[in-house]
């Protein structure tokens, strides 16, 4: 029995499909636990990815992480699950460690693979500069899966959705306000990312980055100095001390490729680097390189993407 927690506040995210797909590779009987207001017909779609049953406690809000811990702990007990899977995101970073102590369940955070022949699970360590293989010594296990490590697989199948009342208690942390810019693709989940660094010279020049991102349907990111001097918001900062991402495509313009920057992006499947300096270290980590001025190359690339997209339709 495997229990999977998914956050359905914004419908079925790609990450939630990934974790159910991952769980299905570990075992057959998959119960999904969630909270909030997503409609039943949306939740039952998880059957397509291998869930046998979805339990939803509508009285629990994701704002109350303490209550969320109770919810998952109680449902693990009720279903007799020994393995609990999360997506490695901002919710699981708060919930999974506490659950690990509560259930005495070893926690593998940021898993990127299913267990190998020895039962060890591959994780990123040293901020993406190396892999570690972690074994869980306890009977109960918690795994949080790094987003974009597994592609969701539709295997067909239906699942029931049951309203569930866990009796989770309210926590002591009170939410006063939530500030969320609307309509942006959250960076850790994005398949395609367009990123820029100090080479762009100033915040007023970001239009060419946003244009390309828009044409591709990509999220935008930046190097640390750019966020530090306030050209771009902090949540766009990728790297060792920022967000670690693993998109399918990472396009980096005007970024030198310092080791701390690479640490957060070298899990990307394909890297394109645009830089005036052919000696820029980033080219060593790139799959495709363009030696040239970002101010000329980016608009041309956007135009080529637009041309390609319209030829596809």
């Amino acid at each position: 029995m495997i229990l999977v927690y998914v956050n359905t506040d914004n419908g079925l995210s790609k990450a939630s499909k990934e974790v159910v797909t991952y769980a299905k590779k570990l075992g057959d009987s998959i119960t999904v636990i969630t909270n909030g207001n997503a409609p039943n017909n949306v939740l039952s779609e998880l059957g397509q990815y291998g869930a046998s049953k979805v339990l939803v406690d509508r009285s629990v809000s994701t704002d109350d992480l303490q209550q969320l811990i109770d919810l998952v702990a109680y449902s693990a007990e009720a279903t007799g699950a020994n393995t609990i899977i999360f997506s490695h995101d901002l919710v699981s970073k708060a919930v999974a460690p506490r659950l690990s102590v509560r259930l005495k369940a070893g926690l593998v955070s940021g898993a990127i693979d299913i267990p190998n022949a020895e039962g060890a699970i591959r994780v990123n360590v040293f901020s993406g500069k190396a892999f570690g293989f972690v074994k869980v010594n306890s009977v109960k296990k918690i795994v949080s899966l790094l987003p974009n490590s597994f592609q969701p697989e539709i295997i067909g199948g239906n699942c029931s959705v049951e309203e569930y009342s866990s009796g989770a208690l309210k926590g002591r942390v009170k939410v006063l306000a939530t500030k969320k810019p609307e309509g942006e693709i959250p960076l850790p989940e994005a398949d395609l990312v367009v990123s820029a660094g100090r080479g762009l010279k100033g915040p007023e020049n970001w239009g060419i980055i946003e244009d390309l991102a828009k044409s591709l349907g990509a999220a935008t990111a930046c190097s640390r100095p750019v966020a530090d001097i306030g050209w771009r918001p902090h949540h766009e900062h990728v790297g060792q001390t920022g967000v670690a991402i693993r998109p399918n495509l990472y396009i980096a313009a005007g970024i030198s490729g310092a080791i701390q920057h690479l640490a957060g992006v070298n899990g990307s499947k394909v890297i394109v680097v645009i830089n005036t300096d052919q000696e820029a270290p980033f080219f060593k980590a790139a799959d495709y390189g363009v030696i040239g001025d970002a101010f000329e190359v980016l608009p041309k690339l956007t135009e080529a993407v637009n041309k390609f997209k319209s030829s596809q339709n």
Partner: protein
């Protein structure tokens, strides 16, 4: 205010990462160790600022061996009042957290602060585990922290935005970027920290729920294909046909 800041060591961010020949452990040869950046820049400095406005004291704690005293002295030089070392090679996050929780139990700290994550293991586990063991509220990934009365007001990172939350002390907080600015220790601080007495206490016996069995380096990228700056159509074709990412 009585504040406990958990400090761990990490390899300098420019370190070349290598493993012993049997790949069973990190090769520390020639590696310079630093205070984990999140612990130093954010948790420790914000703790010191709170002490400066509200009075009180800041204790740092490290689960580690005698070699870790170098980074502990750095934390003292920046301004911590006391330093405690639990004399044990750090094992898994659970073991580390239980050691710290055991120490904190009898001490009535108003605030326990940890970094967002260690830059070597990136687990983001220890803080939450300490809070559960002590039955204290936990606010993760806080980028802002203020203290008034017995209340903490914090901003924390959530998916695609920020949440403002409030909680009574005592509490455990994990600290991310934005919380404070890095402080460079001055000469007087460094000199005073050199000879300061550190408290060393024996570990308690706790199991390890997880263990690292081996390590590996990612495969090296084959060489980069250069595309002419005048031929972006070719790049788009390569991304579509060869790389299959668009």
């Amino acid at each position: 205010m009585k504040i406990l800041v958990c400090i761990s060591k990490a390899p300098d961010t420019t370190s070349k990462i290598a493993f012993t020949s049997d790949k069973s452990s990190f090769d520390e040869n020639g590696v310079q160790f630093i205070v984990n950046p999140y612990d130093e820049w954010y948790a420790l400095v914000r703790a010191l600022e709170l002490k400066e406005t509200n009075g009180g004291n800041v204790t740092i704690i490290t689960v580690g061996n005698v070699a870790d005293e170098t980074i502990m002295r750095k934390a003292l030089a920046i301004g911590a009042d006391d330093a405690v070392r639990i004399d044990s090679d750090p094992k898994d996050a659970y073991n580390t957290a239980m050691q710290i929780a055991e120490y904190a139990k009898g001490q009535s700290f108003d605030l326990i602060m940890v970094g967002k994550e260690t830059i070597n293991y990136n687990g983001s586990q220890v803080g939450g585990m300490i809070s559960e063991a002590l039955g204290l509220p936990f606010v993760s990934l806080a980028s802002k922290l203020d203290f008034l009365g017995n209340k903490l007001t914090l901003e924390r990172e959530i998916a695609g935005g920020i949440q403002v939350v409030e909680v009574d002390t005592p509490a455990v907080i994990s600290c991310a970027k934005g919380m404070a600015e890095q402080r460079i220790p001055n000469m007087r601080g460094i000199m005073a920290a050199r000879t300061r007495q550190l408290t060393v206490i024996p570990p308690i016996s706790v199991e390890e729920l997880t263990s690292y069995v081996s390590y590996d380096l990612p495969p090296v990228k084959s060489s980069c294909k250069i595309v002419s700056a005048d031929n972006m159509d070719e790049l788009v074709q390569l991304l579509h046909n060869e790389a299959k990412v668009i």
